[in-house]
Symmetry: C2
Subunit: 347 residues, 2 copies
C-alpha cells in the first residue's frame, strides 16, 4: 500500500512543526507545501523547516501549484483563525478531493460564528466525498474534548468549569500585541475597542462543542477580557512590564442554558506568571454525579499540543465519513506510534 | 419517533443503578429486566430497584422471557466478569438483533484473553447487524480511554504510567474476599494460589486497548499482586484489620514492547487508606513530547462511574456500525443530558 500523502498549507510555527513531525514518521510523506510569503518560497521544504535534509518538495506561494495538481490524500491547514478567512482555501481543497485538518480556531465548531458558511462547507465536503475537521489544543482539546470525555463517567452534569492557566513568555511580538502584554491598562482598553487586543480565540466554539455533546441548548454566550495588571517587574526577550502595566489578558467565556450559567471557561494568559506565584496548569471541575476535580500541571504546552493533535487526527479523518465534522464526531484522539498505513482503512 | 427500548440483564448494584438512572431520562424506556436469582424475580422492576414506583415491567429470572420476545433496541448487560461466562448471553442478545453494552471487565478488550470467542462475537454481531461494546470505569475509562485521549496531544509517547488509588471501604464482603482484605499475609498468599484473591480484573484489557490505540505491539504483559499490610487498626462495617494484617491488594500490570516496559498501571485497593495518609486519586503520567502529569482527586468513584459510562454510551452504540467494538472505536464518551431520541441516528 502506498504512503499517505500530505500537503502542508501554511508553514509558520504550527505548519512547520507538523512538517518536522511527519518527516520522521513511517507510512506518510509530504507531497506539497504552501506558504503565503513569496519571499520564503522557492526553497526545498527541508531548508524551510531547517532540518538540513533535502525533501524534493519545493515550497510554493501559489496554492494552485499544489492543490488540485499534486496527487494527495489530506491537507494539514494552518493559515488563519477565522472561518471567513479560510473558507476559500478549504473550498479549493475539497474541490480537489482532499480531506482537511485545519487548526483555524473557529473551525473547531464553525457553526458558532458562521452557520451559513459551515453549511456550505458540509455540503461541499459531502459532494466531493471528503472530510473536514477543525482541531487544536484549544479549542479542540483542553477546554472542550477533554471536558466532554470526563462527563462520560457522570450520570448527571449540572455545571462545567475549567481554567487553562498558561505562560506566554515563550511567544513573540504578535502574541504580546494580541494579548495586550506590555501596554498600560488604558492601552489595553483601547486595544479591545479597536480590535488589536483579542485575547483567546475559541471560547464560543469550545462552549458549543460541550453543549452539543451533552445535549444542552445554550441560549447565551458571554465573554469578558480584562487586563492582568502586574504588581512586579516582569520581562521576556520581547517585552518589559513594570508594576501597574499589563502582563496579560484574563479572558473568560460563560455559557447559559435556561438563564443559568452552566459553562465557565477561564483562560488567563500572561508572561512570567511565577513572578506573582501563579502556578500554570489545566484545571477542570465538573459539578454533577459524581463531581470531578482534574488538574494537569504544568499545562499541556499549546504549540506542541496543537501540532500533535493535528497530526494525530490524520487516520481518524481519513477513515471518517464525508462531511464537516468536529472532535465530538470522531473516535477518542490518540498518538499513533506506528506506520500510518496500518491505521488507514480506505484506499 | 418512539423511545429507545432498553433491557437490563443483571440487576445487582451496577445493573440496578443503570435502571434507576434510565427511569429518570426522557426518550428511553426499560422494557425488560432479568436477574439470575429466581427468589428475587417475579416483582415489578420499581420494587426491585426500590424506587417505590410501579414500572409495569416484571423482573424475570428466565432470559427467554425477554430476549427475543420483547421488542427492544439494546441490552445493558451486567452479569459477570469473564468473556467465557458471558459469551452465551451475548450470543442470545445478538441473535435477537439487540445491541449490547456489557460491563464484563474482559469485554473491554476481549481479544486479550479470548481471541477465538472475540472473533465469534464479532462475526455474529456483523451477521445480525448489531454492535457489542465492553466498557466500565476501569477497564473502560480511567486506566485506558482517558490515557489514550491524553496521548492525542503528544507528538511522541515513550511510556505510559498511571495509578488508580481508591478506597474499598464502601464495599461488602465479596469485594473484601476477592481483594484479600482482613486476611493474614499467609492467607493472602494462599488466596492468590487458590484463585479466591483476584485483585483487579482488567489490566491486560486496559494495556492492550492502549497498545492498540497507539500502534504498539506488546510482546509481554505481566501482573503482580501484593498484600497491602496495615500498620494501623482499620475497620469498616464488614471487616476489621489489625496491624500486620492485610488492608488491601496492590495490583500492578506491566506491558512490554521490544523488551522495554512501556505501560505501567497500578491499582492499589484498600480499606481506610487515610489511616496511613494515603490520598486517593487517579494519576496519569505520560512520558513523551510533551510529558503530561494529570491528577483527579479524589478518584472518580467506581460504582457510579461504571453505571454512568454504560448508560452514556447508549447513543454511540446505537449509531455505530455492526461488530464487536471497543472504546477506541467510538466517539469520545460524554454524558447525555437531553432526550435520548435526539441523539439516535437510526430507526
Amino acid at each position: 500500500m502506498r504512503n499517505v500523502r500530505v500537503i502542508l498549507w501554511g508553514l509558520g510555527a504550527m505548519g512547520g512543526g507538523k512538517g518536522k513531525v511527519l518527516l520522521n514518521r513511517p507510512g506518510v510523506e509530504i507531497v506539497g507545501a504552501i506558504r503565503s510569503n513569496p519571499k520564503k518560497a522557492g526553497v526545498d521544504l527541508g531548508e524551510a523547516l531547517g532540518t538540513g535534509k533535502k525533501t524534493g518538495v519545493t515550497v510554493t506561494a501559489n496554492p494552485a501549484d499544489v492543490i488540485g495538481k499534486v496527487e494527495a490524500d489530506i491537507v494539514l491547514h494552518s493559515t488563519a483563525s477565522c472561518v471567513k478567512e479560510v473558507y476559500d482555501q478549504l473550498e479549493d481543497c475539497m474541490k480537489a478531493k482532499l480531506d482537511v485538518i485545519s487548526i483555524a480556531e473557529e473551525m473547531a465548531y464553525p457553526w458558532a460564528g458562521s452557520p451559513e458558511l459551515s453549511g456550505k462547507i458540509d455540503q461541499s465536503a459531502k459532494k466531493h466525498g471528503v472530510t473536514v475537521l477543525g482541531t487544536g489544543i484549544n479549542p479542540g482539546f483542553v477546554l472542550d474534548t477533554l471536558i466532554i470525555s470526563l462527563t462520560g463517567v457522570c450520570t448527571k452534569v449540572t455545571k462545567v468549569r475549567a481554567a487553562r492557566i498558561n505562560d506566554l513568555s515563550p511567544f513573540g511580538p504578535t502574541v504580546m500585541r494580541t494579548q495586550g502584554v506590555g501596554t498600560t491598562p488604558e492601552g489595553f482598553k483601547a486595544g479591545l475597542q479597536d480590535g488589536s487586543v483579542v485575547g483567546h480565540i475559541g471560547f464560543p466554539e469550545s462552549m458549543m462543542l460541550i453543549a452539543k455533546a451533552l445535549g444542552w441548548k445554550l441560549d447565551e454566550v458571554k465573554q469578558s477580557r480584562e487586563p492582568i495588571i502586574s504588581k512586579t517587574h516582569r520581562e521576556t526577550p520581547h517585552v518589559k512590564v513594570e508594576p501597574g502595566m499589563v502582563a496579560g489578558c484574563r479572558h473568560i467565556g460563560r455559557g447559559f442554558a435556561n438563564g443559568k450559567e452552566v459553562i465557565t471557561l477561564e483562560h488567563p494568559q500572561q508572561i512570567r506568571p511565577e513572578a506573582e506565584g501563579v502556578e500554570t496548569g489545566d484545571y477542570i471541575w465538573i459539578e454533577g454525579e459524581p463531581n470531578i476535580n482534574l488538574s494537569i500541571r504544568p499545562e499541556i504546552p499549546g504549540g506542541i499540543g496543537t501540532i500533535a493533535i493535528a497530526v494525530n487526527m490524520i487516520p481518524s479523518v481519513l477513515n471518517a465519513a464525508p462531511g464537516l465534522v468536529t472532535m465530538n464526531d470522531l473516535p477518542v484522539p490518540r498518538a499513533w506510534m506506528c506506520d500510518l498505513r496500518e491505521l488507514v482503512e480506505r484506499e
